[in-house]
């Protein structure tokens, strides 16, 4: 097993072991924090597909994160108040079943990513960064001023949604759901990376011309990658909303996009388990520094700066060496 493989194994087991320890030590909040890590990592895995593999720096993934959150919020709030979402042309009821909510979140995020991607991928480089940011901001202002689902106040869901056979209100059980999804999606991401599609995408990132000469349109490759990426981040958004039992336009904020980008870079761009390491590091920093002083964000900034200046390749990249950066 390569060094990166060992690190990945350690990260995967560590993320599982920590909440199990917390359960034993009766520290339920540590389980909640671990769940947050798993969900943010999931969002990061989604972004990593477009950013690491496709070279598409999106500063608008909050759009997908938020749409996933609102898919959960809208479905659950209608189920909570026993009012249908649509009565015409056919009656569509809300639901509290997690699997249904996930599917809706994934589909909604996928459609949104298809629309945003189809338009944004005409640009590249900084223009791509900024046009994705613009779409994110559009959705943010829309959500803030759209009164039907709470506007800036957001939507509270009083009881966490249900998963067959589990009690999702128990912190550890909800963590296990998030963890299982994260592992499944990591497996999927590994498959995509090694598939002919992934290899072509990687080649399109490095030498677009060469891909075109063998008859593959880089635009289509990138669009597919962007849509898959958006769907994964949308799923993470639905879970995050369930973790907090609350959705609000803050999920659409550009800072949310920024934070997802940050945890991917922190962990190591294009590294399979990079987002896991990045999310764990970011959440731990926020938790540990929060009590130091009112001005704790200065220290957060200094740590982030140190990582980007002195630990190139992020946490996984630094630990694993550079050998497998593109593998």
């Amino acid at each position: 097993m390569s060094r990166e493989g060992l690190i990945n194994l350690a990260l995967g087991l560590g993320l599982l072991a920590f909440p199990l320890w917390a359960e034993w030590a009766e520290e339920p909040f540590m389980i909640t924090l671990s769940t947050r890590v798993a969900i943010l990592a999931l969002a990061g895995v989604g972004l990593n597909l477009s950013l690491g593999l496709g070279g598409l720096v999106s500063l608008g993934h909050a759009a997908f994160f938020g749409i996933g959150g609102y898919a959960m919020g809208i479905l659950a709030s209608h189920a909570q108040s026993y009012t249908p979402i649509f009565e015409w042309p056919l009656v569509i009821e809300g639901t509290k079943a997690m699997p249904v909510i996930w599917l809706v979140a994934i589909a909604a995020a996928g459609l949104l990513a298809l629309a945003i991607g189809a338009l944004s991928l005409r640009t590249s480089g900084v223009y791509f960064i900024m046009i994705t940011l613009a779409f994110g901001q559009m959705l943010f202002y829309f959500a803030v001023s759209w009164p039907a689902y709470g506007g800036e106040d957001g939507l509270s869901i009083y009881v966490r949604n249900a998963f067959p056979g589990l009690n999702t209100l128990v912190p550890l059980q909800f963590f296990l759901i998030a963890y299982a999804l994260l592992m499944a999606v990591l497996g999927l991401a590994a498959l995509i990376t090694r598939s002919p599609f992934g290899l072509a995408l990687d080649a399109a990132r490095q030498v677009p011309v060469r891909v075109e000469t063998v008859g593959i349109a880089p635009y289509r490759l990138r669009l597919i990658a962007f849509v898959i990426s958006g769907m994964i981040t949308g799923l993470a958004g639905a879970l995050y909303a369930d973790l907090n039992r609350f959705v609000s336009p803050a999920m659409f904020n550009w800072q949310t996009s920024g934070e997802i980008v940050i945890l991917v870079i922190l962990g190591g761009t294009a590294r399979l388990f990079g987002p896991v390491a990045g999310a764990a590091f970011f959440v731990a920093l926020e938790h540990l520094l929060g009590g130091v002083s009112d001005y704790w964000r200065i220290y957060l900034g200094l740590v982030l700066l140190a990582v980007v200046l002195f630990a190139r390749g992020g946490i996984v990249g630094t630990l694993a060496g550079r050998e497998a950066a593109d593998g």
Partner: protein
């Protein structure tokens, strides 16, 4: 809407656009020359405003305050360039985004640490206060006219700087081929520090000028930074002319959208629905404009290169 109100709103849009240009010009200069995405540009805007507020509070002079904003932001910019930014030129945009995001955290909270959590006082000097009457009977604040004038002077100054001066020649040369310029004996490191300091000074000055009619507080730079990015992306990154045109386009679109969209929707909706739908759309309008421009022209109106 009467014709004179429409003209006044156009003027307001122009004024907002010029204000945006002040902030965006430094950003586009830095990007054009060094290829650097500087998310912390808004923090330099804030530093300028705080320096101006501090000096105006101590001396009562608005001119001294403006000078202080230039000096403080330029000094902060030069320092940041030498300590951090310099290491980022060879990195990809991702690292630049993360590092300059970290700088926002440090500079914002550092400012709050020094000046406290409460907003500071900075106001228009007496000799620029109050409205004047324009031809056509429009009463318009003198200070806003001054901002338009200062913005246009700075735009002209930047054109001249780049087209006519030795520094401008080096900047243009550095944009196209930095190795050759370095081989010709130009100190690239010093050149970059100077350019970054100029960009920072422009941000700082606009912070002081804008701060006088808005609010001087921590976090004031972030919305401005996003708008400045919208402006330079619409205009084409690296182009001063593009930044000016883009800024005016954004300013006019935003102002007219806010003023007219709710009325437009009232034509076919009831009053309160039109107000809320129109306002919601107005707040998204500049992003719609930006997306539309990029879809038609993927490198902005005057953009030359794709990166």
């Amino acid at each position: 809407m009467s014709f004179s109100l429409f003209v006044e709103q156009l003027l307001n849009g122009l004024q907002l656009g010029v204000t945006l240009f002040l902030t965006a010009s430094g950003l586009t200069l830095v990007f054009g020359v060094m290829g650097l995405i500087n998310l912390a540009h808004g923090s330099l805007f804030m530093i300028g405003a705080y320096a101006a507020a501090a000096v105006a509070g101590a001396t009562g002079s608005f001119l001294l305050a403006s000078a202080a904003s230039l000096a403080a932001a330029a000094a902060a910019g030069a320092l940041i360039e030498m300590v951090v930014i310099r290491r980022l030129y060879s990195r990809d945009h991702l690292d630049q985004v993360l590092a300059t995001f970290a700088l926002i955290l440090i500079l914002s909270e550092g400012t709050r640490w020094i000046f406290g959590s409460f907003p500071l006082y900075l106001s228009i000097p007496d000799w620029l206060a109050g409205p004047v009457t324009l031809p056509g009977g429009i009463r318009y604040p003198l200070y806003r006219l001054t901002i338009i004038l200062v913005g246009l002077v700075i735009a002209a100054g930047l054109f001249l700087l780049i087209a006519r001066t030795r520094l401008g020649i080096r900047i243009r040369a550095g944009e196209s081929d930095r190795e050759i310029v370095a081989a010709l004996g130009v100190n690239i490191a010093a050149l970059y520090t100077i350019v970054f300091a100029i960009g920072a000074a422009l941000a700082g000055l606009s912070g002081a000028l804008v701060g006088a009619i808005q609010s001087v507080q921590v976090g004031m730079g972030e919305p401005v930074m996003i708008l400045a990015f919208v402006v330079i992306v619409i205009g084409g990154i690296g182009s001063i002319r593009g930044a000016l045109i883009g800024a005016i386009l954004v300013g006019v679109t935003d102002t007219l959208g806010r003023a007219m969209l709710p009325d437009l929707f009232r034509l076919f909706m009831d009053n309160s629905a039109a107000t809320s739908v129109g306002s919601a759309l107005a707040s998204m309008l500049i992003y719609v404009l930006m997306a539309a421009v990029l879809i038609v022209r993927p490198t902005g109106l005057y953009g030359a290169r794709g990166a």
